[in-house]
């Protein structure tokens, strides 16, 4: 099995790949990047928490016109994972309004972005219909 690296550092690649957030220990606000202080309450103490890997689509768009080099079409979405909002693409679904619906149930899925010269495979994530 080749070495793997996640697309972003908040994607944790273990037996059950999942997302991880920095949670403010004072108010519970969650952030996918690092914060010097909590944007909600200014607390400075954070802990790592696992984000649920299933949720429902709260918003989406089907992007058919993007920057050069970005393959289209793709579905960009906001997924409500039991109270934590997550940004990600909807994958393993036809990118059209007949197949993508507001409120549809989805779950986290990973896919390969390819292998570099060192033999390291990058792993991305998206959400697929549950």
């Amino acid at each position: 099995m080749p070495a793997q690296i996640p697309l972003v550092d908040y994607l944790v690649l273990d037996d059950a790949p999942h997302l991880q957030a920095n949670e403010c220990t004072n108010c519970g606000a969650r952030f996918f990047d690092r914060r010097n202080a909590c944007a909600a309450c200014f607390g400075t103490d954070f802990r790592k928490v696992d984000v649920p890997s299933d949720g429902e689509v709260r918003a989406f768009t089907i992007v058919t016109f993007a920057a050069p080099g970005v393959p289209v079409p793709f579905v960009a979405a906001v997924v409500d994972c039991h109270g934590t909002s997550v940004r990600g693409n909807l994958i393993n679904v036809e990118p059209d309004p007949e197949h993508v619906k507001l409120g549809m149930k989805v779950r986290l899925a990973t896919y390969s972005l390819g292998t570099d010269d060192n033999g390291t495979e990058a792993i991305g994530f998206g959400f697929e219909p549950a």
Binding site: L7, D9, F31, T61, A67, A76, A77, T84, R87, P97
Partner: protein
């Protein structure tokens, strides 16, 4: 008690393609137009605030060198699409603080042919080694892999989110909003596009980011707008004609995002707009029902819908019914974007937050010609700069008018 503030003079250039003019030319044209409209000169200005978001910086000083250097303080401001409103608000604050009794605000942009905004692009995929970089430790650009950075896509999701929360939205509904604004634009000679488009034409045009087709997106174009503000006490010393044409700034509000759960994931244009509107209604004593016209930030058709609600033009959750009632057409109860809006008038970013005030002033002064909203006495202008900054101004016709 701080003095009242009035718009003494205001102008916008024709929006569209200006291949023979640079940003300084356009800004100077707008600034001199506003001074002339106000009946004053650069000598009378105590402060200059200016913005050109995509420029190299220092637009304020460049304007001075073009039209008059008097040594006054210059504030070069940048606040995304709210840059123009921020420049105006800066001039207003200086006058309100008593540092001077008149100020000039200018916004200018050259965007004709700029294409897709927000897309950062990505490195060529000949990468030989995955190497984490940036705040998320990303091994490759995330635009298109983890959602979209494009403006059409971002604002599409904002409209869809409203639909998920309250129901009633559809591709056709959003296209109908665009149909209204394109219809309104036919009466605006300064709009970049003045072509009426049928619902079918709009829906069958190039899809950019579902449900926004190309005519449902703001039009990139060149343009500038400028305003002269004056204190109420200074205005009293001026001519009756100046006093008659002056427009009272009954509220001037700028807000940023208070923290909300999802704001790091999808920009929240709702909360800060709702707060700005609430503050503006409190400051002015005006209620949403009093408004004779509204210019709001329809950077995309999907955005206009949510701002009906955020500006409290309708009941919470009632934006779809409100639009379907015909209220926001120019002959409706609350005409919205009678200028044609950003979708047809155009959106030269830093000019937009002054150009929308010009539109409202034009009607309050009874000078809007074919598109005049008869008897207009009070109006509201709104802009959003993603990131976010929201400007809301409430304007009232002069008591002398």
């Amino acid at each position: 008690m701080a003095d009242d503030i009035y718009i003494l003079g205001i102008t916008m250039t024709k929006f569209g393609k200006h291949p023979d003019k640079d940003t300084v030319d356009l800004a100077a044209e707008a600034a001199m137009g506003a001074l002339k409209d106000a009946g004053v000169s650069m000598r009378d200005m105590g402060v200059l605030a200016a913005g050109c978001l995509m420029g190299q910086g220092g637009i304020g000083q460049q304007i001075q060198k073009q039209i008059g250097q008097t040594g006054i303080p210059v504030y070069n401001v940048a606040n995304a699409c709210a840059t123009g409103a921020t420049a105006l608000r800066t001039a207003i604050m200086a006058v309100k603080a008593g540092e001077c009794d008149m100020g000039l605000a200018v916004g200018v942009e050259k965007l004709a042919g700029a294409g897709l905004l927000g897309a950062g692009g990505r490195a060529k995929s000949d990468k030989k080694e995955w190497s984490p970089a940036g705040r998320f430790g990303a091994v490759t650009p995330t635009d298109g892999r983890i959602g979209t950075d494009t403006m059409p896509g971002t604002f599409a999701q904002i409209g869809m989110e409203y639909g998920h929360k309250y129901g009633g939205t559809s591709f056709e509904l959003f296209a109908k909003i665009s149909e209204k604004n394109h219809a309104h634009s036919t009466l605006n000679p300064l709009a970049a596009y003045t072509k009426r488009m049928s619902l079918e034409e709009i829906m069958n045009d190039v899809m950019i980011s579902y449900p926004n087709t190309r005519p449902m997106c703001s039009a990139n174009c060149d343009g500038a707008a400028a305003a002269v503000v004056v204190s109420g006490s200074k205005l009293k010393t001026m001519s009756l004609e100046q006093q008659r044409r002056a427009v009272k700034v009954s509220a001037s509000v700028l807000t940023s995002d208070p923290w909300q759960e999802a704001c790091q994931v999808l920009p929240d244009v709702n909360t800060l707009t709702r707060i700005a509107a609430t503050k503006a209604y409190e400051q002015s004593g005006v209620s949403p029902q009093d408004l004779d016209l509204v210019e709001l930030h329809d950077c995309f058709a999907t955005a206009e819908l949510v701002h009906y609600d955020n500006l409290q033009l309708c009941e919470e959750g009632g934006a779809v019914d409100f639009f379907n009632s015909g209220a926001t057409w120019r002959d409706g109860s609350t005409p919205v974007n009678v200028s044609g809006g950003l979708e047809s008038k155009g959106h030269p970013i830093a000019a937009t937050g002054i150009a929308n005030i010009w539109e409202v002033c034009h009607h309050l002064r009874g000078e809007a010609g074919d598109r005049q909203i008869e008897g207009a006495k009070v109006g509201l202008a709104h802009v959003i700069g993603l990131g976010s900054a929201c400007g809301v101004h409430i304007l009232e016709k002069s008591a002398l008018g």
